[in-house]
Subunit: 424 residues, 2 copies
């Protein structure tokens, strides 16, 4: 017996206490990735602009580079007359100077010559002859151009460490010539499904009394959609020695173990026994004050994270979404302060009253539908053991501990079981 | 010159007309994938339940299997007495019969013996001796159990073709023993960025007058997040013969070509010339009545889809989100009717008045923030040529054609530039 004795008498934690435990997990090491592969990754360090953008003054409209003062007072009836001094091509390196009283043609994005401090839009010019244009509107210095560094100045902090890169962020890094980025390694996760009644999905026909494994599929899919890497996905018989062995092996090359118990009573105690047999393990939460999912277990084994999840598939998905996915985010260096919003939660209006008991946090599965341009969340009631509940639910709502039910028409936040892609 | 002459005089299409053109695209062929890899894929065909769930009557509570009538009238003061006839183990195949007047112990999920039509929860029983229990509450037939097929009946349509599988759907398929699924092949996309001023991101230092490629990174990231596969991502000089060659080659093994023009005036006409040089090409839209992004081009080349996008990075991202991503969805067999909601659009409250001109659909970039438990959408104004606008915007809102601006406080739908993962 390698590990120290795990206390079985730890108090049940509140949902907030578990989230606080998750916030104390250490982020995984940084790795470098190519910019083209960086979207969706989380920055290990803040990124500071290595240069200014633009690095030369650019026109933002098609027109003529001018000295603004040469156009002061110009109007339709009293236009300003400027001598044309050629044209700048797109992408051209401009070395000549703009002389007073002259105008040089320039396309949108084109480099401006020294001496120019504004661009007159082509719409407000009229060619008189080969060498002269009329300008019918005055421009102020800075009009229709970007000055060097006006967009991004060198040294500006663009993104903090812990920021998950979106397509637009990758675009900003491209503009700055950042070709490699330091990001957090993605967590490697082992999903183990157990229970005396659980048989692998390939079993056919399934003997009476047995059911096929669901959790290893749903949990692995949730983890992958949240950016985790599934290293092991397996159904293991409800056997202490075997489960301990598989967990010990999985700990070698995974950052997170998820063990979902069957509905059999014994599995919960097995989880504690397994932890006792693992070196340097510490039970952090033994039970969470939520319903369903109360038997949830969180432990640390060395630097690795160990989750014991309920066997009932809908409960397991809710606990995965509520706690396991946030722990994966944390391992990637994220904290709740990073995002103004999450795409895996949506605002909706509750379609029906939800009863609840004061003093208990309830997770209630809901189905979303679109009604009158707003999302409506319909509670999915019925026997909780039904797997058809799975597909009928898009996610769940949370009825807080100190609230006695929610009325029809309440604004609710729906936590989708998974983040990415378009749902349903 | 292989292709027929492309009409340059096609009328500008409305946004709705372009979406209707997209709806007429043919879905890609079906491929089979393992269930463990099916999450996020789109079903090619509807899925019908191949068997019933559960395939045996199961307890949904820990307790005793009984005949309901043996408990009728039971109460705390007048309990029913039942003879115990052993215990059923989790996962056990039960062959014995429940005799009248007896009770058999059964765990949650355990198989029920023939003759039992209800389960008494263990909380409402009390062991009198080794052979007898008291039952202190009556149960009705069907209480605390699932009958064979009560959850899912064989032959029921579970998901229609065109449905994108979520983790919970994969769970339902697992329960039914579906190990392989027919899904649509993911579209293969080539992203080509062009423009005389555009140089590859690795160029350092960038000569004055040039800027680094942004669009091939942002567009490829958007496509990948939406489930497309990037086969080619390249910056090509603004040269008709070269561009035509690259497009022709890309058409061989890609389903979609995205050509984003630089801001130079010539590129738009190049796109039409390229199309003229390609075999069996048909221009479907030459300009879309939106702002920004009016110069957008949609064409068909054989069975392949060809998009010409604006060169300005924020505009290109908006057009990609508004039209290209829906075309990828369509190639995967999706239509707008499939989803009750999309995770890449969020409801928010407009933080500031947005002016707009009647008779034009405006896309306005916005930044999301969380205020008082609701999302607030702040319009990102400022010079549109700034790439810092990219990272400052989470997505955009649409001001419809026949609306003259939106007031502060209006409920708006924010289209995020990308779908999946947690943003920001």
């Amino acid at each position: 017996m390698a590990g120290k004795t795990v206390s079985k008498f730890l108090k049940v934690k509140s949902s907030d206490e578990v989230l606080a435990l998750i916030d104390r997990l250490h982020p995984l090491p940084a790795v470098e990735v190519e910019l083209a592969a960086a979207c969706g990754e989380v920055l290990a360090l803040s990124v500071v602009a290595p240069e200014s953008v633009p690095h030369f003054s650019r026109a933002t409209m098609d027109g003529y580079a001018v000295r603004a003062r040469d156009t002061f007072g110009a109007s339709e009836t009293l236009p300003a007359f400027l001598e044309t001094a050629g044209e700048i091509k797109m992408g051209e390196t401009v070395t000549r100077r703009l002389e007073p009283g002259t105008a040089i043609g320039v396309p949108t994005g084109g480099m401006l010559p020294e001496g120019a401090d504004a661009v007159v839009m082509v719409e407000y010019t009229y060619p008189l002859d080969d060498k002269t244009i009329e300008v019918t509107r005055p421009v102020a210095p800075g009009d229709n151009l970007l000055r060097e560094g006006e967009d991004i100045s060198v040294g500006r902090e663009l993104f903090p460490g812990g920021w998950r890169l979106r397509p637009q962020d990758v675009g900003v890094l491209a503009a700055l010539g950042v070709t490699r980025v330091a990001v957090r390694r993605r967590p490697r996760v082992a999903v183990i499904s157990t229970g005396d009644e659980v048989v692998p999905v390939g079993a056919s026909p399934v003997p009476p009394g047995k059911i096929r494994d669901i959790n290893s599929f749903t949990l692995a899919a949730q983890v992958e959609e949240a950016g985790g890497v599934i290293g092991l996905r397996k159904v293991i018989a409800d056997d202490l020695a075997l489960l301990t062995d598989v967990c010990r092996q999985a700990l070698e090359d995974h950052d997170v173990i998820m063990l979902s118990g069957g509905s059999s009573v014994g599995v919960r105690d097995y989880t504690l026994s397994i932890l006792e047999h693992l070196h340097d393990s510490e039970l952090l939460a033994h039970g969470v004050a939520v319903r369903p999912g109360k038997p949830t277990i969180l432990a640390r084994v060395g630097e690795k994270v160990f989750w014991g999840l309920p066997g009932q598939p809908v409960s397991a998905m809710m606990i995965c979404r509520a706690f396991v996915l946030p722990s994966l985010e944390r391992l990637q260096g994220r904290t709740s302060k990073h995002a103004a919003f999450a795409v895996n939660q949506l605002n909706a209006v509750l379609a029906r009253k939800v009863p609840s008991v004061h003093g208990r946090t309830d997770y209630v599965p809901v189905l979303l539908s679109s009604a009158h341009g707003r999302l409506s969340a319909e509670p999915v009631f019925g026997k909780s053991a039904m797997i058809s509940t799975l597909a009928a639910a898009d996610g769940y709502i949370i009825v807080p501990e100190h609230v006695e039910g929610l009325d029809q028409g309440t604004d609710v936040l729906v936590c989708l079981f998974s983040g990415p892609g378009k749902a349903g």
